[in-house]
């Protein structure tokens, strides 16, 4: 056995220091409240953030969030007002003597009010949607009948609508639950539709790794073993250190079903 060196003591001290690091009580309490209310909260108080001298991306993003919310709500409200007035009143010329009306006209884009405009803080984007890995496009990997409904010819109203608000975590979880449930029932087509919804309608980001592995299984079960294998290999390349990659590795070459692992709780 090698003799203990000062280096080992230093290592021990570093690890001991890491054990001393823990979240504040306010953060823990915030998380508990969030699980009770079902709504994501600011994990710690804004004033505490302000006291932290190190600026970071999340802090800046969070500090802008109320502005986004206020602007979005104002736009939605003013759009509603304008539409309501347009229905009830003849058009009014907006001149210099009506600055507030001019401001309204500038501030409100010419879009119809839609349910998506009823925004909450939760629906404000926290991050630019990024892909975990190059995903197979529906045309490449999924039979035409499995294409998401979103690919159908949009109605004029839909084409004029603003982009969908970012999905909430609950929506992402629900989409994957639908996919998993369908797979559990042997319905790979429905599972692929749910995953298409996750990717192309919800633009899910938080559970993208899990979604990708579910797609591997769904493709495999729908008889697209080669596509499943390609996707599994791409997943492993993009996430070599992920525990999920480790599980996917066994299926990358064979196109075997992941069903048994899913059923066994391997994919959470």
């Amino acid at each position: 056995m090698s003799e203990r060196e000062p280096l080992d003591d230093l290592a021990d001290r570093l690890f001991a220091a890491a054990r001393r690091e823990r979240p504040s009580d306010a953060v823990r309490e915030g998380a508990l409240n969030a699980t009770r209310t079902g709504k994501v909260e600011s994990a710690s108080d804004e004033s505490e953030r302000a006291a932290a001298p190190a600026a970071n991306v999340v802090s800046r993003r969070r500090s802008r969030r109320p502005i986004y919310v206020a602007l979005a709500l104002a736009a939605a409200a003013l759009t509603g007002v304008l539409l309501d007035r347009a229905r009830r009143e003849p058009p009014v010329a907006i001149g210099p003597e009506a600055p507030s009306a001019r401001w309204r006209a500038e501030a409100t884009p010419p879009v119809p009010a839609t349910p998506e405009l009823s925004l909450s803080a939760e629906s404000i984007p926290e991050q630019a949607p990024k892909r975990a890995l190059p995903r197979l496009t529906p045309h490449e990997s999924v039979p035409q009948k499995l294409l998401p409904r979103a690919t159908a010819e949009p109605s004029p109203v839909e084409s004029a609508a603003p982009p969908r608000a970012p999905a909430t975590l609950s929506e992402e979880v629900a989409a994957l639950d639908r996919a998993r449930s369908a797979l559990g029932g042997g319905d790979a087509s429905t599972a692929l539709r749910a995953l298409d919804d996750y990717d192309h309608v919800l633009h899910g980001t938080r559970l993208s790794e899990e979604a990708t592995l579910l797609r591997v299984e769904a493709l495999s079960r729908s008889g697209q073993a080669a596509a499943a294998s390609r996707l599994a290999q791409a997943f492993i390349r993009a996430n070599p250190g992920s525990p999920l990659a480790e599980r996917a590795r066994g299926f990358a070459g064979s196109g075997d079903s992941l069903a048994t692992r899913v059923d066994a709780g391997g994919l959470k």
Partner: protein, 191 residues
Amino acid sequence: MRASPRIDGQAPDADPSAESRVAALVGAHFDFIWRLLRRQGLSPPDADDAAQQVFMIATQRLDSIAPGSERSFLYGTGLRVAANARRASGRRREDLVDELDSRASVEGAPEERAELARAWALLDELLGGLPAELARVLSLAEIEQLEVPEIAALEGIPVGTAASRLRRARAAFREALRRVEHRNPFAKERP
């Protein structure tokens, strides 16, 4: 049993037993998950957000988490959430270690807090230089002080593999530490 999807941010079932189970989850595992996220390269504010997200997911899937496997579920979820958070910020794990946040999560004199902050930064740098799977097992063993079988269960690998990884991780960490020994964060500055 399958988790019943709860849509549109609805709260979990107004079931007192579910609520108490969630509270127990938070009480027992929040610090563990938060430290896991930190060691995955997230800054303290990012770890705050990510930890909340992990427990939100757990709450929404409470029905599908078998009793006794809560930590395993949270661990796997934490790793995925951390990976997504890193991708969202457009930076890799090793790029984040320089983002030293001086908001130490511990009480103490300023000198002690500064020392701890330097230690955390150096540790993150060293762990960031290891292959991810080695860094994880080393953190679990040395920081969380878990036994090899527990590590194997969390990582979903055989016990022998976990033991082997831990040996390699310790050797690699020692070697990396030797190269930066001169940056000992606990060394007192000479006048």
